[in-house]
């Protein structure tokens, strides 16, 4: 089962895979980021109620979506690492964590900055923002646990266990916070019902989401390459690669 996956368990093949994927992600990110921001900031029509303050949506929603997306992909990598003992999956968990934490931080800052004009207060204990804050705690937990171990191998495995425990708790936390306080406006784009946002605003938003996803991809690939080199620094292929000055 999954025979095509096995060659990438070897570190060198995984390293080359990162190299081949890198240009595609980079191009998508640069293009979508510029188009998305320019379109969102300058060309998208103003909202009739919030006028121009709603433009923050073009980075708040993508970063919120990506913070959840990054955590679930980190948890999937953690499960692969624990079940099939694939070392590269552990390295992937460690590379995704800081990027996910950054996305959550962006979502929190933009949420607060958007909340001030809309609800009149910088921080509102609204369900979505509180879940986002707890998600940031989970990320920081994984990162600080990883850096607390000297031996990198057991550090990776401990971080994977915490990531899996975190992902099991994520829906429970989300449900309980949602139940505890529903102040946030309904979901602007949900897959199920028609989106409550006009198509002229929807397109820049989608482009921004792709741009942020591309960015998460690029930085994760860079960090994964670092982790692989760090872990294999004794191997001849790393020395020869560094010798060539790549």
């Amino acid at each position: 089962m999954w025979k095509w996956l096995h060659p990438y368990a070897k570190a060198e093949r995984a390293y080359q895979l990162c190299n081949t994927l890198m240009p595609y992600f980079a191009v998508i990110t640069v293009v979508c980021l510029t188009v998305g921001w320019v379109w969102g900031l300058a060309y998208a029509p103003a909202d009739y109620q919030q006028k121009d303050s709603y433009r923050i949506i073009f980075i708040h929603v993508p970063s919120a979506i990506l913070s959840m997306g990054a955590y679930s992909s980190m948890a999937i990598a953690a499960i692969i690492a624990l079940v099939w003992q694939i070392r590269n999956a552990e390295l992937a968990v460690i590379s995704i964590a800081p990027v996910g934490a950054a996305m959550t931080a962006i979502a929190l800052i933009t949420g607060a900055a958007w909340g001030k004009p809309m609800w009149g207060a910088w921080w509102v204990w609204d369900a979505r923002l509180t879940s986002e804050l707890i998600l940031l705690f989970l990320y920081l937990g994984v990162l600080s646990l990883y850096h607390a171990f000297e031996d990198k191998k057991s550090a990776g495995r401990a971080a994977c266990i915490l990531a899996v425990v975190g992902v099991i708790n994520l829906p429970i936390i989300h449900f309980s916070v949602e139940w505890w306080n529903t102040l946030h406006q309904g979901a602007t784009i949900t897959k199920f019902d028609t989106s409550a946002i006009d198509s002229s605003m929807l397109w820049p938003l989608l482009i921004n989401i792709i741009a942020f996803a591309g960015f998460v991809g690029v930085v994760t690939l860079i960090r994964l390459k670092n982790e692989i080199l760090q872990c294999e620094r004794h191997r001849p292929w790393v020395r020869e690669l560094v010798g060539r000055g790549e």
Partner: protein
């Protein structure tokens, strides 16, 4: 090989921890004292005005319960790790999750149970309504084992580290939030003399899930910390 009797292992690990606790009285008394002190801090901080205290009582009792469980968690695996009996537990023919279950149950009997028994006294301190008393005791009865299970995961992850104490609370507190939300809301609804069965049911469900999944996470975390 002698016949495998899981009960023999469970009871032996459980009674070892409990006898150790009774030999060092401080292990039982400290968390309770801490619970009492934290509870008395709040009226000093926010003023003795009964109506306000009554309103704050569920939250204060539960935050204090949370913190004193955390206090007791650090020693859960630390001593066994230091003197090597944790290795012996791993290298035993019985599954590690069973001995972990016994240890968490022992931890609950040492820190959780006294809290449940003392809860009526603390509720009086915060002059909580009498009908809310039942809810407080019930939520603590179901909630404290849940806190022990989740906390034991954090303890197992950080047992090998010198400065593990603070890190453990950073890992475990976010996971405590759902328990805190449902327990305090159960007490709130009961103080308005409404039915609080729903919140208790959710707490019970969380406890059931934790008692099945937590030992697996704890034993794999212990195996990582020992390696």
């Amino acid at each position: 090989m002698a016949q495998h009797s899981y009960w023999q292992l469970f009871f032996s690990v459980y009674s070892k921890d409990v006898t150790l606790a009774f030999r060092q009285r401080s292990e039982i008394v400290n968390p309770l004292l801490f619970f009492l002190i934290v509870i008395t801090l709040f009226p000093l901080a926010i003023g003795p005005e009964p109506a306000l205290l009554k309103r704050m009582a569920p939250g204060i009792i539960w935050v204090a319960a949370l913190l004193s469980t955390m206090l007791g968690l650090d020693k859960l695996f630390r001593d066994d790790y230091n003197d090597g009996s944790l290795e012996q537990l791993i290298a035993s023919p019985y599954p590690l999750s069973l001995s972990v279950l016994a240890k968490v149950f022992a931890h609950w009997t040492i820190t959780g149970l006294p809290m449940v028994l003392m809860a009526p006294m603390f509720a009086l301190l915060m002059n909580l309504e009498s009908q809310a008393l039942g809810a407080t005791v019930l939520t603590l009865l179901i909630g404290t084992p849940l806190l022990s299970f989740i906390g034991a995961i954090g303890a197992a992850l950080t047992v090998g580290l010198q400065k593990g104490g603070i890190l453990m609370s950073l890992l475990v507190l976010p996971l405590y939030i759902p328990v805190l939300i449902f327990a305090t809301s159960a007490i709130d609804t009961s103080s308005m003399s409404l039915a609080y069965g729903g919140q208790l049911a959710i707490l019970g469900a969380m406890l059931a899930v934790a008692s099945v999944c937590a030992p697996i996470a704890i034993s794999s975390a212990l195996k990582v910390s020992v390696s």
